[in-house]
Symmetry: C3
């Protein structure tokens, strides 16, 4: 059971996330590697929307392997190449986090490991 | 109770942080979202000093919401836009971590989510 | 004891890492600060290979101070300045993770805190 914090003394989050998220001493913690827009057959999907959607599907599959889901995500970190992609990221992300809003960090990196990747998403999740 | 490690076999930290920081099995873990120089009324404060100070105050409010404080911070990650801002960051950071020195990572990103933000600071804290 | 996940529904990792890594409720967690190519005497070693090797040796010393080793690493984050250095990073990293493959995130940053640093490596480890 994750606790989310949005204290009144600071401005509300800029989008659908929480300022803080906490899991208790009884939890097991799952760290998910940075996921990108690569389909199960290894091909890179085209366009920022498809890559974000695919990265989230990959995160979902890894969480499921650990018996977890998006409700168990404590923290999400998102790395983009351009600020122009922030609105579409937020729109798609909101669909995956319809019931919870984990802690979040987002910034633009200089480059990702493959020249055709447009986004990388990693999460930390906790359960139990 | 956090344990800090600075083993003799490697060079001392470049500033006031520890090479390693650890919390035990009984701890609850609080992840704080990347905080920026946004005041409680939603306005972006002006200048790097004010933004760093404000980001730390925001972190402080979120830690307090979880019954924690700067003494409970295990790890701090700081993202700047230019290396020129590193000295002022260290000076202000030292004021907030006067009794402890958490593990730390710092690097320059290509851009933050808003064009007027100059710094983003996230922490992971543990207690109990 | 760390559990590694590479579910069949997504493409295999691009190199020697796992898509997910998990530690249980009984673990203590050690966060290691971003390590760079600085020798014990404080000098910056020359060249990307030497800096990567040195950063890993520093990580190793900090893990050892906490009674841990590379087998206990749950997550590794690597920050480079250029994609050209990815192959040498993977080659050296594989030598340190010969028995396990932690979760991993890798991207290129705009700059590191010192102009002569070429790589920064941080890990999160768990034991017990």
């Amino acid at each position: 059971m994750i606790k989310f914090y949005n204290p009144p003394g600071i401005a509300a989050p800029a989008s659908r996330y929480s300022h803080g998220a906490e899991a208790g001493p009884g939890a097991r913690w799952l760290h998910v590697s940075g996921q990108v827009g690569v389909a199960p057959d290894g091909t890179i999907v085209k366009g920022i929307e498809a890559q974000i959607e695919r990265a989230f599907r990959n995160v979902e599959a890894i969480l499921a392997a650990g018996g977890m889901g998006f409700d168990d995500v404590v923290k999400i970190n998102t790395f983009l190449l351009t600020r122009d992609h922030v609105p579409v990221l937020r729109k798609i992300r909101d669909g995956f986090f319809s019931r919870t809003a984990p802690a979040s960090t987002l910034f633009m990196v200089a480059a990702l490991a493959h020249p055709d990747w447009l986004v990388e998403i990693e999460v930390v999740a906790a359960k139990g």
